[in-house]
């Protein structure tokens, strides 16, 4: 393979972000547009001030041209994340969050922070969540088995982050398992 080693292990965060941007988000358009066909499907029509659902990449593009307001997903609010953070720090297992919350929240906080309530607080909460979850993943390392690994509710970005070394570590553990008397019995 001609890919550089760093790309062979797993996909990169920007690639995950690209994938996440296919998801739909609600916007309030500021321009009108007829229903338009894209490769991934037809979106529109945009009729201000009615809400419309379009992919995130398109919303980002329109937002940058100041042609829409993005409506934050229900989970991207201070109350919701605060509640999740409390759950995260009090329970032993991972709390359920949208699978691509890391990517989407980052993109929206980047381009549409003026459409979100209290973006700074959101950033802090997301960071705290990330750290709390990282600590749990780390604790999971101590009980790593060679054959199975159960970490439910882990998000795409987190899976991607731990994938290379978890796989390698599990492979090593697999190698260290004894293979009992095939045909040679020894010493």
């Amino acid at each position: 393979m001609s890919l550089p080693p760093s790309l062979r292990q797993s996909v990169t965060p920007p690639e995950l972000e690209l994938i996440a941007c296919q998801q739909l988000v609600e916007i309030v358009p500021l321009i009108s547009m007829e229903k338009t066909a894209f490769i991934s499907g037809a979106y529109g029509p945009l009729r201000p001030p009615h809400r419309a659902k379009i992919p995130i990449w398109m919303a980002v593009n329109l937002k940058q041209k100041k042609k829409c307001h993005i409506i934050a997903p229900v989970w991207l609010t201070v109350e919701y994340l605060q509640q999740k953070l409390t759950q995260e720090t009090t329970q032993a297992h991972f709390t359920q969050l949208p699978f691509r919350f890391a990517e989407i929240s980052r993109v929206l906080l980047d381009v549409a922070s003026d459409d979100l309530q209290n973006p700074d607080k959101l950033r802090t909460l997301l960071k705290d969540l990330r750290e709390a979850r990282q600590a749990k993943a780390r604790a999971g390392l101590e009980n790593l088995e060679h054959s199975t690994l159960g970490l439910s509710n882990l998000s795409a970005m987190e899976i991607n982050e731990i994938r290379p070394f978890f796989i390698q570590a599990m492979a090593v553990l697999g190698q260290l398992q004894p293979v009992f008397n095939k045909d040679r019995n020894t010493v």
């Binding site: 760093s6 292990q9 797993s10 990169t12 965060p13 920007p14 972000e17 940058q64 980052r106 906080l109 980047d110 381009v111 780390r138 390392l141 101590e142 009980n143 790593l144 060679h146 970005m157 982050e161 731990i162 994938r163 290379p164 070394f165 390698q168 570590a169 090593v172 553990l173 190698q175 260290l176 398992q177 004894p178 293979v179 009992f180 008397n181 040679r184 019995n185 020894t186 010493v187």
Partner: protein, 191 residues
């Protein structure tokens, strides 16, 4: 560590000598030991390369003596505190302690196998967390950061990493760096 014929790591891991005590006399083979004697006598001990040990041990011509890298002294030290043992320095150049252990593992009888496997697995698992912690720490330091976690123990732990652990260290560090880069880019507005 895998058994692939072309695996460089597997070849390097077997680049070791194991002491064996002969159980029979072998005439005219004294030159193998590099000494002046004509015959290999019963109960004499020779350092043999791993590839030869396989045959000799399996044919019951000699008993393998557990190499010092897995001897009781090291075992006790590992039981006490896995992170304070410098695995790399136990097995010489390349530092493939786990690979060598795997080689030995295959030559043991079943009960010995389980014990050996437990020793290797427990050591690996206990050290893994520290490996990843330090890797993430170094990734967080960025390109400029030269000084690692303070204290001699962390430093000496890093120096004593087995080649397998070193690989994991690099993987974890690379992954954390990528994540950090991605999160930090997000601080700038995109235009």
């Amino acid at each position: 560590m895998e058994e692939d014929y072309f695996s460089i790591d597997a070849i390097l891991a077997e680049n070791q000598k194991i002491a064996c005590r002969f159980t029979i006399d072998i005439p005219d083979m004294g030159h193998l030991g590099g000494g002046g004697e004509r015959d290999i006598t019963r109960a004499s001990t020779l350092q043999l390369p791993v590839w030869l040990v396989y045959t000799i041990v399996l044919s019951n011509w000699a008993d393998m003596i557990m190499p010092p890298a897995f001897g009781s002294k090291v075992r006790n030290a590992l039981k006490a505190e896995p992170c304070s043992v410098r695995l790399a320095s136990l097995v010489g150049a390349g530092g493939l302690w786990y690979g060598f252990g795997k080689t030995i593992l295959e030559m043991l009888a079943d009960e010995g196998k389980q014990e050996m496997s437990n020793l290797l697995t427990n050591t690996f698992r206990k050290r893994l967390v520290e490996v990843i912690d330090q890797a993430q720490h170094f990734a967080a330091l960025g390109p400029a950061g030269g000084v690692g976690p303070t204290g001699d123990s962390a430093q000496s732990f890093r120096e004593g990493l087995d080649a397998t652990e070193r690989e994991l260290f690099a993987l974890a560090q690379e992954g954390s760096k990528r994540m950090k880069r991605w999160y930090e880019e997000s601080d700038k507005p995109r235009r």
